[in-house]
């Protein structure tokens, strides 16, 4: 097991190192001078020169890369050209809200996707199976931006069932100020027993979480269905059937367990995907997460911020995969040999 962990950690380190170098190269290849973004559209030549000197943009590229890696290792992810604050501080403000949204969406996706997959496998080639397959296909293929606008217009605008936008009713900052421990509003409200903010956040979370959950739900449902159908052909399932277990019981008690391993890998993959996919959803629902920060950074050519977001997403991706790899190593000893 220690050798397995070391191997996986080494691989993760290599991926992160690759991402750092790639991010640096790509951001340096972007057209235009980052100093213009910092100094403003009407900057004088003197102001541009000062900005270039401040960010070391006149240094040779290898020196810039070395400085970039050195700064990253010391916790300095650069200064945003737009907000003029440390990128890491900006990410710390924005990322928890994204984590809250994507975490809730994934929970929703697992809670809806796995039972839907079981239902489809249980009633294979019949109406429920058809419904789950069509629903899954729709959930995967519908553009999130469109879905976000449609749900917002119908359920918030017309029916008034949910709030139009925001993370929680900010009037509560006066009546029920929230003490921050993790910067994740739901968690902080739960820890501190701030029920007004907790309930308000849950109400605000429903629509964006459903939109972000659509794609993972579709994928998980289809994957669960396929894995269960494959598992249903195994010898041990025939034995359990011969022993008189019911079909639902066989699927849930005996077929689902081995099918969960590939599902874990899938969830890790869709987690990182959902963070990026959620950017547009955050914009529509005014969710104060990484999406708004990333979109603003891109439209402003804010190179350090773009690099920071790219690196963070890559780290999340690598970390999620690492956690799943390690868990699979614990769960299934055969994984350690692969």
């Amino acid at each position: 097991m220690p050798r397995y962990v070391a191997r996986r950690l080494g691989q993760a380190f290599l991926v992160v190192a690759g991402v750092v170098v790639l991010t640096f190269v790509v951001t340096r290849l972007l057209p235009g001078d980052p100093a213009v973004a910092f100094a403003g559209p009407k900057a004088t030549p003197q102001q541009l020169a000062e900005a270039r000197a401040r960010f070391g943009l006149d240094d040779p590229l290898p020196v810039q890369l070395w400085n970039y890696v050195r700064d990253l290792l010391t916790g300095d992810w650069g200064t945003s050209l737009r907000t003029r604050r440390p990128v890491l501080s900006d990410l710390y403000l924005a990322f928890p809200a994204s984590l809250e949204l994507v975490g809730s969406a994934l929970l929703l996706a697992v809670l809806a996707g796995i039972p839907a997959g079981v239902l489809a496998a249980r009633h294979r080639t019949r109406l429920p199976d058809f419904g789950v397959r069509v629903g899954g296909m729709l959930a995967v293929s519908v553009p999130v931006f469109w879905l976000a606008l449609a749900l917002q217009t119908v359920f918030a605008g017309n029916l008034d069932w949910f709030p139009v936008a925001g993370e929680y009713d900010t009037a509560l900052d006066t009546t029920s100020p929230l003490t921050l421990w993790t910067n994740i509003t739901l968690v902080d409200a739960l820890i501190t027993g701030n029920w007004p903010i907790l309930t308000s956040t849950l109400r605000h979370l429903v629509l964006p979480a459903i939109v972000v959950a659509a794609y993972p739900t579709g994928v998980i449902a289809q994957m669960t269905r396929a894995a269960l159908i494959e598992e249903a052909g195994q010898d041990h399932i025939r034995l359990e059937r011969a022993l008189g277990f019911g079909e639902t019981s066989i699927l849930v008690r005996f077929a689902l367990r081995p099918a969960l391993n590939p599902l874990l890998s899938l969830i890790a993959l869709v987690f990182a995907y959902a963070i990026v996919n959620g950017f547009l959803v955050e914009a529509v629902f005014n969710w104060p997460g990484l999406g708004r920060y990333a979109v603003d950074a891109i439209s402003y050519s804010d190179v350090p911020a773009i690099a920071g977001v790219a690196l963070l997403v890559a780290l999340v991706y690598v970390l999620a995969n690492l956690v799943v790899d390690l868990l699979q190593g614990v769960v299934d000893p055969r994984a350690r040999q692969r």
């Binding site: 003029r84 403000l93 006066t174 308000s200 005014n286």
Partner: protein
């Protein structure tokens, strides 16, 4: 332990670890002093209103829905971005421009005069003004503020470039001696870099916890990255005093999506949306509970032709291109987002001329192209054009112009680019046609002529690369004329525009952007001042009823 239980334990441990690593240490969000950024008392109920107590009649909050971050720089010396909206309500300058009267009006200065041909300016300061720090405003404090801004030389500090010395003659008299004549009363009305602030507190401003202005509002809370990023509250010691019906609280609720902002406005959760697309703006005009405002800005579109190199070096080609633009079609397609321009200087500024509206004339354009050796049955003319990526209005121009030029055997290779990349290419004379917006940092038409059309060996914004000694001389004479003789300045501006547009054909100015605002019908007193883009002067507003 069974494997799924191990998974559960690992999951819980992960959440705990994440929680611990992200631990912020018990700060209080909003710190319990945030005013309610909900509806004013007379508008519709907000979705979350059930969770908050109703506000009193004189306790209404005005909620502004910007589409971008509210504040990036809290220093009044270097601030040069979206924060103009908030800063203009926290800080004040010596004067404030009135676009209707086309001149600056008193603000912290009550009167002013110029001497020595516009090279000496004396401002009398308003009495009884206090900074939000509690310190009194006097000439020495104003002198220090402007000198600090000049010394930092960031953002738009260049506007004070003419100033040689500043002298506090007495407690209420401020005297400027200039290196060259300049309309300092206009400079002092700028929305950027002209704020008067308490320099003693200037180094403590960057966290947005306090400010050092004299304006009617002061910072209440600033939560970077949050939806309600900034809230302002009334400054009780404001020199203008307070009436019960005025908005004493303001909140900025960042709403990047136009459709979301529109939904929030309809529900009464925000009071002001600074921009809508033409479709939603038309809908807003007929929606109950919503009022609209439409006003030409000081920002116009410039189509700059390369006068230095390539086929557009020939003035006949440039004139043909001017005549090929379908100005009326473009303005119609903009559906109210633009107004046909007349000359280079937008209405509301000294130097604006009537009767210079451009017209499309394809027959004349074809004649000019033929005379230059291009056109039908002659050599095909290929032109490169750069414009702003993501700007739908500029894209409309490109689409219309491309199809028109095709009929004249001219192929337009238009390339959308991010500003810094487009500008980089422009500085290298890398295109035949450069499309950009221009706006003045202070309400003076001089900005167009000095920056965009004065000769420059290394072009910065002179992206038509025009080099003309006669035009340069006329541009250099403008500041003194503006400072001493407004009528003569008006005529000089008119003459220059004819030279640059008609004789040199260095530019086409198709339209002036129009501000299209939507606001709650219950808000009274709103007028758009194009000298301060997107700024709402909240002090001038009051809720109906």
């Amino acid at each position: 332990m069974r494997w799924h239980k191990r998974l559960l334990v690992a999951g819980v441990a992960g959440v705990v670890a994440m929680t611990a690593s992200a631990c912020a240490g018990g700060q209080v969000r909003g710190a319990g002093r945030t005013p309610q950024p909900s509806t004013d008392t007379s508008t519709g109920t907000s979705t979350g209103a059930a969770e908050a107590p109703a506000a009193k009649a004189n306790d209404a909050t005005f909620v502004y829905a910007p589409n971008l971050d509210v504040v990036t720089d809290w220093d009044p010396a270097s601030s040069y971005s979206n924060e103009i909206i908030a800063m203009s309500n926290i800080y004040e300058g010596l004067t404030r421009y009135d676009a209707g009267a086309r001149k600056p009006m008193p603000r912290l200065a009550t009167e002013w005069s110029s001497a020595a041909g516009g090279k000496e300016w004396t401002f009398k300061l308003r009495q009884g003004v206090k900074f939000h720090t509690g310190a009194p405003l006097d000439a020495e404090a104003a002198k220090k503020a402007i000198e600090r801004t000049m010394k930092l030389n960031a953002g738009a500090a260049y506007i004070w470039g003419a100033v040689k010395t500043i002298e506090a003659v007495d407690a209420s008299t401020l005297k400027f001696t200039l290196k060259y004549a300049a309309p300092l009363d206009l400079v002092a009305s700028s929305g950027y870099a002209a704020y008067i602030y308490d320099t003693a507190a200037a180094d403590k401003l960057k966290d947005g916890e306090s400010d050092a202005g004299t304006g009617p509002y002061t910072i209440d809370t600033w939560q970077k990255g949050k939806e309600t990023e900034l809230t302002l509250k009334a400054f009780d010691g404001y020199w203008g005093g307070w009436k019960p019906e005025q908005y004493r609280k303001v909140a900025f609720r960042v709403t990047p999506e136009i459709t979301t902002a529109w939904q929030l406005l309809q529900k009464g959760e925000v009071n002001f949306v600074p921009r809508l697309n033409p479709q939603l703006f038309a809908q807003a005009g007929t929606t109950e509970g919503v009022q609209t405002s439409q006003k030409p800005s000081f920002q116009n579109l410039l189509v700059l032709f390369n006068t230095a190199t390539g086929p557009t070096k020939d003035v006949k080609v440039r004139q043909a291109l001017q005549l090929a633009i379908d100005y009326d079609g473009l303005v119609a397609a903009l559906k109210g987002a633009g107004t046909k321009a007349s000359g280079l200087v937008p209405e509301g500024l000294l130097g604006h001329v009537q009767g210079m509206e451009p017209k499309q004339d394809l027959a004349r354009a074809a004649e000019l192209l033929n005379a230059a050796g291009y056109g039908q049955d002659l050599e095909e003319l290929k032109l490169t054009m750069t414009y702003a990526q993501g700007d739908e209005d500029q894209k409309l121009l490109v689409t219309l112009l491309s199809s028109t030029l095709k009929k004249l055997n001219v192929t337009l290779q238009a390339k959308p680019m991010a500003w810094n990349a487009q500008w980089d290419l422009g500085k290298k004379k890398g295109q035949d046609i450069f499309v950009m917006y221009w706006y003045p940092d202070y309400p003076d038409a001089y900005s167009w002529f000095l920056n965009v059309f004065k000769s420059a060996d290394k072009p910065q914004f002179n992206l038509s690369y025009l080099k003309n000694a006669e035009i340069d001389k006329a541009i250099d004479a403008l500041p003194q004329l503006s400072a001493t003789d407004a009528l003569a300045a008006d005529q000089a501006y008119a003459d220059l525009q004819k030279k640059i547009i008609q004789e040199q054909a260095a530019v086409a100015a198709p339209y002036v952007q129009t501000y299209q605002r939507a606001l709650s019908a219950t808000v009274q007193g709103y007028t758009d001042n194009p000298a301060y883009p997107n700024v709402v002067f909240f002090y001038d507003l009051k809720p109906a009823g």
